[in-house]
Symmetry: C2
Subunit: 232 residues, 2 copies
DNA sequence: CCACTGCCTTGATCTGGATCAATTCACGTC
DNA sequence: GACGTGAATTGATCCAGATCAAGGCAGTGG
């Protein structure tokens, strides 16, 4: 862990897009006083289910997953967090889900009670978080939709499309070459399938000519139309 | 549809718990001027996916479901809305999901742009919506968790527990006698199972002595402990 | 260079839940 | 009380995906 009271917001890569972008300079300085940077290495956890709920954070770079674990050890991925995303369960006394780094990640961490205090005094921040929360809710529902499709083919095809959309950060049209951000196991966890099924379905998608694979992670979509049809 | 410009907030059953409870009298009067009551009969829809996104609403009484539909007609329930709940996708130009009444429901409907304007001028409302949105997000994730369990038994057991918790409106401990608020088909839609499987699993739960059924909808939980164990 | 360790792939088999197909039940209406 | 209709149950069969079991293929460190 790397801690630092100089948040240096001026050089922050998400200063335009994170919730704190809604604050003016003076307000942001106030916020930066209660925040600190933290680096999580791949696989490290920020907060675990059951912890006392004391922190919240903005993701500066990297990627996080929000997960729950069955007692038998199976991990279920509930959400992915991208840079500028906000994590933390405001208003709740305990943490319900694990938050784990998918890759080395840089966070801007705040004490939750202090952050809540600032929210209450700064309407623009509340509004920005509301917007972000509405997006998160929409994402969660999209994911429920995806994971609820009957066939494994439709789920895998839909997930690939979702990643393609996320990869090209223009929200309208999707990238056609990108790297899968997750392992087979993590994809399985998102879709409620097994590692083997993911692997097989990817193989099928390739042999049917919908995608082309480059190593284990690289994907090129060759037939957007058929992929979309499959996923629907 | 029943429209009325006198919202009569003073007698509203959710005046203490809905988002608008955060406003003072003067502010609430302003809000009431842009709202109107609407009654939806069982099965009627407030907004359908693809509509222009022009309204949002607070549920006063009854119950709603938020759903998406596969082209093949299968309905997937993404969320249930209870009285005092807020529906509407703020900040989004188009509606993504259907909102349908599960039972006859009374709503307080607002023009979305006008409502957004009020939010921006009234921090307390933004804060109340943020709180509600955080709850919705948590609920959505709980549901993903439930629908992602591997076995049908675990899902059905979990759903019964969730209903039992919702039925006793004290959040700590759950009712042990209550009526299922959904048809078998709707439960199937929530859990990604079929009507037949739901029916069979309920039958098994009864013959195993975990629950007792009274007609098609009535449930009495006889063995909370084993039910909890099954669902986990 | 080899051994080790995570991931990923591929194959063979098994099974839980889907699907297809009747009944049966509950309830509102005449 | 008979009738009609949508919901629920129950049974028989089938199949997609889980599970079990080997390998294969990087990347890492000795």
């Amino acid at each position: 862990m790397n801690s630092n009271s100089n948040l240096a917001c001026d050089t922050c890569p998400v200063r335009e897009s994170a919730a704190c972008a809604s604050l003016n300079d003076e307000e942001r300085i106030k916020l930066s006083k209660i925040g600190r940077h933290k680096i999580l290495k791949k696989g490290e956890t920020l907060t675990a289910a059951g912890d006392e709920n004391t922190v919240c954070a903005t993701l500066v770079s990297g990627a996080l997953k929000i997960t729950s674990n069955d007692r038998d050890g199976t991990e279920r991925i509930l959400s992915l967090v991208h840079p500028a995303g906000f994590v933390g369960e405001l208003f709740s006394p305990a943490v319900h889900h694990d938050v784990v780094a998918l890759t080395e990640s840089k966070l801007c961490v705040f004490s939750r009670p202090q952050y809540e205090e600032i929210i209450e005094g700064h309407p623009a921040l509340a509004l920005a978080l509301l917007r972000r929360s509405a997006d998160d809710l929409f994402d969660a529902r999209s994911m429920m939709d995806l994971a609820g499709k009957r066939s494994a083919d439709a789920r895998v095809a839909g997930l690939i499309q979702a990643f393609a959309r996320a990869a090209s950060h223009s929200p309208c049209h999707s990238a056609d070459t990108f790297d899968l951000p997750l392992t087979r196991g993590e994809m399985a966890g998102m879709l409620g399938l097994t590692i083997e099924t993911i692997s097989r379905k990817l193989g099928l998608l390739e042999s049917d000519g919908l995608i082309k694979r480059q190593g284990a992670r690289g994907i090129r979509i060759s037939d957007h139309a058929r992929l979309a049809e499959l996923s629907d």
